[in-house]
């Protein structure tokens, strides 16, 4: 059971979350609880580090910012003890949770479970583990990067062969689309790992992408629940292998992302190495490229279009101007359109069903929405459209694919 920042925001929230744990203990289960820092705690520590050293040693950064989770872990253990449940806290190095030495964004390499299992044998019922952290081969404290507590929870569930891994958050599950955009959005009972991955990378920020990948690789059944809604009212959403999903729709959900920009290089030389040069210069400028489309070449020249977050357009433009001025890449013109949005339909059913793309395009056409860029994966079709049509497109697609039912 993993409780995120809003689920342990203050001592009242810790109490509420602890009650969920106690109920499972009374159901006869031994529980590993993973906690984040209290909401805002990590940001406060990060600001202290940045104020101290604008360019900082990531090892010291990790030693400081991991404190937030340690505090919550101790307080959660105390709260559970107060409810009569034998519990204790573990910091990352105590478990230990071994990680790489890539400080501030370490990856878990192994987890020793003997210590926790031994305590369960002795009668302990709840092991409270500080999320987001581990220990490097040099015995320095590491952190796993933003959202790392999800990964801690999934990795522990895998290492302990847990029945399932429950992620408590401030939403009560995964929806067919963003309920703020479409009031007919419906909570899903189940969703496949692959679908969740596509939705997560689209900005449905309920679960960290890495934790979903980890769960998929290790077949950990994930359940997303709200810590603010009683579980008797909602079972949340189970994220699991597609084979577990009995009857799946062709399309599981409609995702959208508002602040996108489209950049086009007009008349680039169409020869090997040019794309590599363009995108490595953008990568060095820390621009996150999403969609990439290249048209058919004519007379040895082509147009190259890609999308990135709106707030990275400046950096992208500068990088592309630089490679032209130093002669690395020639092109006629750089055209920027920073008023686009991305809309995607996602579903594992697309693997076996045809016609999804055709249906999507015809729905958008019927609404008079022009499609600017299209990309597809095995289980996703994404389009860039004018930003002002985003809500309309989401609602129309949600209706057309009958996601409300």
């Amino acid at each position: 059971m993993k409780f995120g920042g809003t689920s342990v925001a203050d001592l009242a929230c810790v109490q509420r979350s602890a009650k969920r744990v106690v109920r499972e203990v009374h159901n006869g289960k031994n529980i590993v609880v993973v906690v984040s820092a209290m909401a805002g705690g990590t940001n406060h520590l990060i600001s202290k580090v940045v104020e101290t050293a604008p360019v900082y040693d990531a090892r010291e950064y990790d030693a400081v910012v991991s404190s937030g989770e340690n505090i919550t872990a101790g307080l959660m253990a105390l709260t559970l003890q107060g409810m009569g449940v034998p519990a204790r806290s573990w910091q990352g190095w105590q478990v230990p949770i071994g990680t790489t030495a890539t400080h501030a964004s370490a990856r878990i390499t192994h987890i020793e479970t003997d210590n926790i299992l031994h305590k369960f044998d002795e009668g302990m019922r709840v092991a409270v583990v500080a999320g987001f952290q581990g220990i490097s081969p040099e015995y320095r404290i590491t952190t796993l990067g933003r959202g790392g507590s999800d990964t801690t929870a999934v990795a522990l569930a895998a290492a302990l062969s847990a029945e399932q891994c429950q992620i408590f958050t401030d939403v009560d599950g995964i929806y067919t689309t963003d309920p703020r955009i479409c009031d007919r959005a419906k909570k899903l009972d189940q969703i496949a790992y692959e679908e969740m991955l596509e939705l997560a990378s689209m900005g449905a920020r309920v679960l960290q992408t890495r934790s979903i990948e980890f769960a998929m690789r290790n077949a950990v059944r994930l359940r997303v629940l709200s810590s603010f809604v009683d579980e008797l009212d909602s079972q949340g959403t189970l994220v699991c292998d597609e084979e577990e999903i009995m009857e799946s729709k062709v399309v599981a959900g409609v995702a959208c992302s508002r602040d996108e920009a489209k950049l086009t290089l007009i008349s680039v030389a169409d020869r090997p190495g040019i794309a590599a040069m363009v995108f490595s210069s953008l990568s060095e400028a820390n621009v996150n490229i999403d969609m990439i489309v290249q048209n058919i070449a004519e007379k040895g020249r082509t147009d190259m279009t890609f999308s990135c977050p709106n707030d990275q357009v400046g950096a992208a433009e500068q990088a592309l101007i630089d490679i032209r001025s130093n002669g690395e890449v020639r092109y006629d013109e750089l055209v920027v359109d920073n008023s686009v949005a991305k809309v995607s339909v996602v579903g594992i059913g697309m693997r076996s069903h045809t016609g999804v793309a055709a249906k999507m395009f015809s729905v958008l056409s019927k609404e008079g929405i022009n499609i600017k860029v299209i990309t597809t994966s095995e289980i996703k079709i994404s389009v860039l459209i004018d930003r002002k049509y985003m809500e309309l497109a989401v609602q129309a697609l949600h209706d057309a694919f009958e996601l409300e039912e």
Copy 2:
């Protein structure tokens, strides 16, 4: 170099303290820095624990409250790095600093220094160690109790055979008496461990008693300095072996303690076991007894007087009423005087010089101050007097023993 809470109260204070460290590094020294939590940090964490669990598991308490020092250690290492000094932080378990399993008031049992010394060999110049904490034989985090960072510093200095152990605080040394009471108080250049111990237990709260005992046992030279006064202006006070002190006065200082109370049991049976019964009942009631005086017995009965802090009088009275009502101890009357103060003169010179007590009593008598209780040790004479005369007594004794010169 140990920096207490006020010396690392905020990032500006951390900067100022770091500059003191850098100056020593530039003098060619390798430094171990021990830090406390930022002022108020530990109290904030303690209040969270107490709010969560009024009766708490001390192991979880330790896991939570040790966070404050970890944060300061990381920030201090980052600050030193920013000043161009190779530095890193160590948490108690990383050193490791081994302690007993007496959580919340653990004692240091051993310190492994190989890790730190190895890093010095590799070119590191400053090891920043989180004070106040260690690791138990069960690999749980422990804390050393209030003021424990002083003990961490002294224990590290002993284990590393450091040249000296500098304790930075908000006063610039040890004074002949409290400067707020006597404006002629003078900073001492040197003071013997034994004298410092008597002064510390009298409420001169500059150094924790345990850390002085530890320094004395291990011959660690302690220097008390202010982190707010430039060291070129003040060398603070050296606490050292009496043999190092070239020319010592008979009396080193005058100590005082304002909020004392005197309790007298009138006409107690004078037979073996009675005193044990009285004082074990007071101990169970958590009353800290200081002075104890028993008069000569007459007709098998005696009067028994003792002193305790004023705010413990209620608990003491209750305990004494209880043992009378359950028939354990009989006495005629309990007389409480809660308007007394304690004044002491302290000096290792008393061992070889006679007449100190006589001089003290005559000074007080000349001022018309009545002495209510007297106790003496090898290097200290303490008296209880009316509280309203405390300042007068301190000033008169300070003058009479020529401490200003």
